[in-house]
Amino acid sequence: MCQILFDSNVMNQLRELASTGKPVELPFPSGFSIGAIVELACLRSTFPKWLQNQIDRWALNACVLRTAIRTFEDGSFPGRDNMWESRYLEYFPIRGQNWTDVVHYHPYQSRFTKAAKAAGFGKIAEALVGALREMADNVTQHSGSNSENAAPGLIGYFVSEGHVAFAVCDIGRGVLASLKENPRWASLQNSKEALMKIVTNHASRRSFGGDGEGFKEVFRSMANLNGIVELRSHEGRIRIAQTTSGRKAEPQFTGFARGMQLNVSCSLSGLPREETFPLDFLT
């Protein structure tokens, strides 16, 4: 059987398949990116039964996916997989305001900071950790009608030498419904448009105070890096490739999946890439 590496492109195909409703036998993944794992774990319960069964079969052979699913579904912590010497991977479930928890979340972000610094990111590490925290806060702030009704979410990071990736996923109302609360963005027609407004106009649900701050912080943190930001919500998708010489955004429609999913992948050198790690290391 052929094997595939699960990254955001494969996840886009998977969303298409899931939304057609026709069961398909998928090849066994030979590896995952952190974005794909976080997304599979978070969206699993929203996918059709045939796809849930396939994900469960993959999880049997991939401890990182199993841990991610358990972390998301139980809302339990730690969701930690100390993989091998030079690489580091960890999840955190978002439930309401638990990311403000000084006992659990603060040590989590401090481990991320240390790992990123050790991977060569120096002071940029703190900015990347700040960006992840801001995105975690976005789940609390925007996935439901208010912070008390926030949808559950999952975040995760993966660090290797010269490379940092993190992912944030929730199964909430999506960016379109959130932005439409602001009269300025009430006429948006679809999630692709909504994602474009977030990225290019810093659109925010809040009707006061100007630009939204969250994604600004993400792009600010990546300013001197090569990176890829993949943002998806419902039927919209936007992929932003950033190099030190500029940024290019490609909006598209994709298969429907609930909530919002963000993958950020940065490297200190070379072209933007989304690193996948082989399954052999993860079982």
């Binding site: 305001q97 801001e134 702030q141 208010n146 609360e181 809040r206 105070g209 701050e213 912080e217």
Partner: protein, 209 residues
């Protein structure tokens, strides 16, 4: 009224994110909704012990209060009914920042300037008295000049300013508009004086940088 963030729960040294801002502002937001704060109150946001803030936190704390005050000073037509719990609502309230560490002050400047929002940072506060303060953020040069004049003179009216500066060629109406704008920007408060208003800077003395 003083809000000391280091006494807010959870105990933190960083003001990061909208959720934390909402939590820290919850007691005062509740009072705003209830209308239980005296109109014209100056709220001092005390950042003593806070080592870092970000844009979302500033937006949910200082800018939220400032916007409530600003909405109260604008015409009713401009007011959008709050749709969300965290939306500001018109309330005659003022905000002053205090005890900002260098990095926090820089973050405030970077946040306020592109938004054309001016704010005062109290450098010496005794009880309810703001002895001296600095102005951060952005005001257009005309308003900045007017604010300097008001801060130097103490309580004053538009006709008084017109009489004091006849060579400037600024009419009473123009002075009045400028003072009204400063009030809307929450830099001066005003009290009725017959058919007009008397304006006064929030701090006794402004230290110009």
């Amino acid at each position: 009224m003083i809000v000391k963030f280091k006494e807010c729960t959870p105990i933190i040294t960083e003001g990061l994110g909208a959720t934390l801002a909402e939590n820290h502002m919850a007691p005062i937001a509740k009072k705003v909704v209830e209308g239980s704060i005296a109109p014209g109150t100056v709220v001092v946001l005390d950042f003593d012990g806070i080592k870092a803030v970000n844009g979302s936190y500033i937006k949910g704390t200082a800018l939220w209060l400032w916007t409530c005050g600003r909405l109260s000073a604008e015409t009713k037509n401009a007011i959008v009914t709050p749709r969300h719990q965290s939306d500001p609502r018109p309330y005659d309230i003022y905000v002053i920042l205090s005890s900002l560490q260098k990095e926090v002050l820089t973050e405030f400047r970077e946040f306020l300037e592109p938004r054309n929002v001016p704010m005062l940072v109290g450098m010496s506060i005794h009880g309810d008295e703001i002895e001296n303060a600095i102005l951060i953020g952005r005001t257009d040069p005309t308003l900045q000049f007017t604010f300097k004049v008001v801060a130097e003179l103490g309580p004053c009216t538009a006709p008084q300013l017109h009489a004091l500066f006849p060579k400037l060629g600024i009419t009473v109406t123009a002075w009045n508009n400028r003072l009204n704008d400063l009030h809307s920007l929450r830099l001066v408060r005003r009290t009725r004086a017959g058919r007009g208003w008397t304006y006064e800077a929030l701090a006794k003395r402004i230290l110009w940088e």
